[in-house]
Symmetry: D2
Subunit: 157 residues, 4 copies
């Protein structure tokens, strides 16, 4: 019997922009979707599941489900640590869980989850993981994937 | 015994912008949050629960939960009919359900739900609906609220 | 000698969104670029020079110059009338001039100008207007293009 | 006679996001306004002229003029070096000049300029630099302001 491989996690640090906060100095709720994507993509680049990897293989991985729980507001000027964790799946989809914490005191502000399916180049739903994803999963299963453990400044600006 | 008042619904029609679609001609998933807000706000203006109504009363109604299910992609150039329905609640929160349909053939593309809580002017959680909301609920209960039934072009651009 | 054909103008009306204003209740300056595009595209759809028209012909018309003068701030809740005017050019480029006025009192808030060049399907600069643009220019020269004179709600939301 | 103090410059490096590129893989022209703001704000934080500095003093510095020249397109996946340079002014306004270069080969993609005026807490136009800005100018004049010379990853994400 094999244990489920643990999630692959990565954290990016970003600063809330002036334009992202509203009249009340609070980040507009839709802006968090970008924060999630920044962390997911930064993780994907490290493990071989970035947008570029998918495009190179002519596969697409559209988001089919998005959930966000807003516990405390992020405010203008806050630094945020956004952690994306890819959770092992047996069926061909990607599920990421997220935590957004205020950097100054690690207060948990937001949790989220996204689900992606895989589409073949012809747009049909993939019923199996394609080879390039299987290769990543094999390394994951063998615990051979190393993700930068420490928080890094988001490469997106 | 009183039946639960039916949802209050309103539909806005909008056109997908060039800048809202990605490399694949598909709307980026985060842009739908704006579509939802446009429909929710257009409904709110009609029933007395708009952003302005809340600000005037110095209450806030932050979104605490957001869920989106993407069934089929909206594409560049599509016209979309976005319906927001405010669902009756006994406790002081607002729950809206949404449907986004392609105008040309009424195909259902996206469903969504948002939950908002109410905050007093001092930022504390409201444990009862404030009077200006109760007044709306009273009219709702009496079936006195008329919402424009037909689809209108979104006032937001 | 032929007189220069007068500009082709169209006005869209839009409402400033909550998310478009900042801490001070003032629209963030970058958001106006979208307002300009909404008016330019609404004009383009009417005269046969929309994004779709260009894509169908496999030509591109990238913006190479953008200028904005902000005279008075647009604020949350304002309705804005955005007028785009395509100005006749002898050489293969498109120049639009813009005025953004507050709908309530016609106060001029912003003026702007964009310049676009034309690129062939292979990405090279067009040194002449392509036939589908020449056809529009011929109708323009003959004063055969009718643009909706009255302000319409922006189709973009 | 005193020479004009040289510009104060700072460069941030950012990565073009998937959502920032269009159908053609090219960054939508309006997104550059955010890139400029990221560089300007990162410079402002270092020299004491950030949004926070202005808010603390209850002054505002709205942008009144924005110009962008697009020479070559930024594309999805490009890393960009965005340099903001504050140019010395004798009269109470701020003028920044910008260069956006592709990091891989230093190709110049975009140049830009923004002009800001200063508003007193009551909203009236400042006819002199306020004391907190004069303090910065005095240090600038004496060549006492050190800005991080090397390119840093943008703190905004």
């Amino acid at each position: 019997m094999t244990a489920t491989p643990p999630p692959l996690s990565h954290t990016v640090r970003l600063t809330v922009r002036f334009k992202e906060s509203d009249l009340l100095g609070i980040v507009w709720h839709g802006n968090y979707v970008t924060y999630l994507e920044d962390a997911r993509q930064a993780l994907g680049v490290q493990i071989g599941l970035s947008y570029e990897d998918f495009m190179r293989q002519r596969f697409a991985a559209p988001i089919v489900d998005l959930r966000l729980q807003y516990k405390r507001p992020a405010k203008y000027g806050d630094k945020l640590d956004v952690t994306a964790s890819l959770v092992w799946q047996e069926v061909p989809k990607f599920v990421h869980r997220y935590e957004i914490r205020r950097s100054s005191d690690s207060e948990l502000l937001t949790t989220a989850e996204t689900t992606q399916v895989l589409l073949h180049p012809d747009g049909s739903l993939a019923l199996n993981f394609p080879p390039f994803v299987e290769a990543v999963r094999e390394r994951w299963r063998r615990n051979e994937i190393k993700v930068a453990g420490k928080t890094e400044t988001s490469p997106f600006g």
